[in-house]
Symmetry: C2
Subunit: 260 residues, 2 copies
């Protein structure tokens, strides 16, 4: 059975999509079969993996609504071994529509389990990129996942929201998904030249200890340039500091998973 990991943090702009895209790419480079599910109506993960708006004829919204199955929505990406279930702005209607459903928290888990039971092409790892909120889409991702990867920007407002996120994970674990645990916290957009970054790092390592990965992702303009070319930073510029940090992070995540 594949390992399902959600990229979640209700604070906006902390690096959820960037981490989903580049960590998934690094794992594909380690010869794992990887699936990314874009559960954000913004569709940034789909863009970052090179799938244009026109190619998203079947998206995760259509799968959740039941008009197509997950298998038919899976697309190859620019990265060998890495496939994607894209999203479109249709998904922004899903939160209101899910509210009416019975078992509304289990919708993503249900379609994923069906796909995994039927496919001959099962992935080793599934990443779910979440929107910046703790609404029904993110709750669905947490119910469907075995672990949560928390990207944390080295900024004060991002630190402020961490306890709310951890409480939500705990609530989902108790009420819906007993196997859910925080896989780890990854510090992003770290700038060694400024005190704030170092203060946030010290604070987070002090409170969360080993849950925080050793690998820290530096602020690196090459990372933010890559999406405009529709390719991950690892493909755009493998030698840059940002890409190298994601390669290191992949090794560290795989070690925690006991796969290396």
């Amino acid at each position: 059975r594949p390992r399902v990991l959600a990229l979640a943090n209700q604070k906006g702009g902390v690096g959820k999509t960037t981490t989903a895209v580049n960590l998934a790419t690094a794992m594909a480079a380690y010869r794992l079969r990887v699936l990314v599910i874009d559960l954000d109506p913004q569709g940034n993960a789909s863009t970052g993996l090179g799938v244009s708006r026109q190619d998203r004829r079947r998206d995760i919204y259509a799968v959740l609504a039941g008009s197509t199955d997950l298998q038919s929505a899976v697309l190859p990406t620019v990265v060998p071994g890495l496939s994607l279930v894209p999203s479109t702005p249709d998904l922004s209607g899903a939160e209101l529509e899910l509210v009416e459903l019975a078992e509304r928290e289990y919708r993503v888990r249900a379609v994923l389990e069906q796909y995994l039971a039927e496919t001959s092409d099962s992935p080793d790892v599934v990443f779910i990129d979440c929107p910046p909120s703790l609404g029904l889409l993110t709750l669905n991702a947490l119910v469907a996942s075995g672990g949560v990867l928390v990207p944390l920007q080295c900024e004060f407002y991002a630190l402020e929201g961490l306890s709310m996120l951890l409480q939500t994970v705990e609530r989902i674990r108790r009420s819906f998904n007993p196997q859910l645990a925080v896989q780890g916290v990854v510090l992003t957009m770290f700038d060694g030249r400024n005190n704030l970054s170092r203060q946030v790092e010290d604070d987070v390592r002090h409170h969360m200890g080993d849950l925080v990965y050793q690998t820290v992702i530096p602020r690196n303009v090459r990372i933010s340039e890559a999406p405009s070319h529709g390719i991950p930073a690892l493909v755009y510029d493998l030698r840059c500091a940002g890409s190298q940090a994601y390669v290191k992070l992949a090794r560290e995540v795989l070690e925690r998973e006991g796969r290396l």
Copy 2:
């Protein structure tokens, strides 16, 4: 009657809260009476204006739920002439609860109009800081506002989401609030040393012309340090490039409003 402006953009981390806090502070410095409503469950605007968690006994959630009126939730802040209606994590339950209500899109407008009709202390300007989504909280803010200020980070993913936001504003204007218009787009976290910032600026000015403010907010570490001290950047360091840009932006916004 006061002017009501929403800070909205579903893309996360683009500077909505930072712009709400610092633009409001700059306007208070121009002797306007300003009210900020924190409509984001993260409560970052409340933190940025120095209102601690313990002081948020009555918040916007309690007002929307009807257990208190807006007048009793208004608090003074560290800035003379600037008051705040705080938010707490309770607000994250509001989206699901609002769904069941009749006239669910008009809830914020209704409580605001009641307050303005009854108060002897009416503000000149009201800012509503929105969460990073186009859900019911943001829709409520758009229905209650005369104008939308769109902070736009100089990054590719932020640019990608702009058309979705503008379509939503147009939809709200047609169906719920005919006086709603985009007051302006403000470029944030601009870094003159990197091409991406300049490309995003050229692109946005090309497509949106005069809607984009002349003033551009530079990336400036002093801006991100201020929230950890619970004060706006203008109070933390008025002379820094970031604060000066917000002072200039306030002048430009007031000129557009015909108040200068």
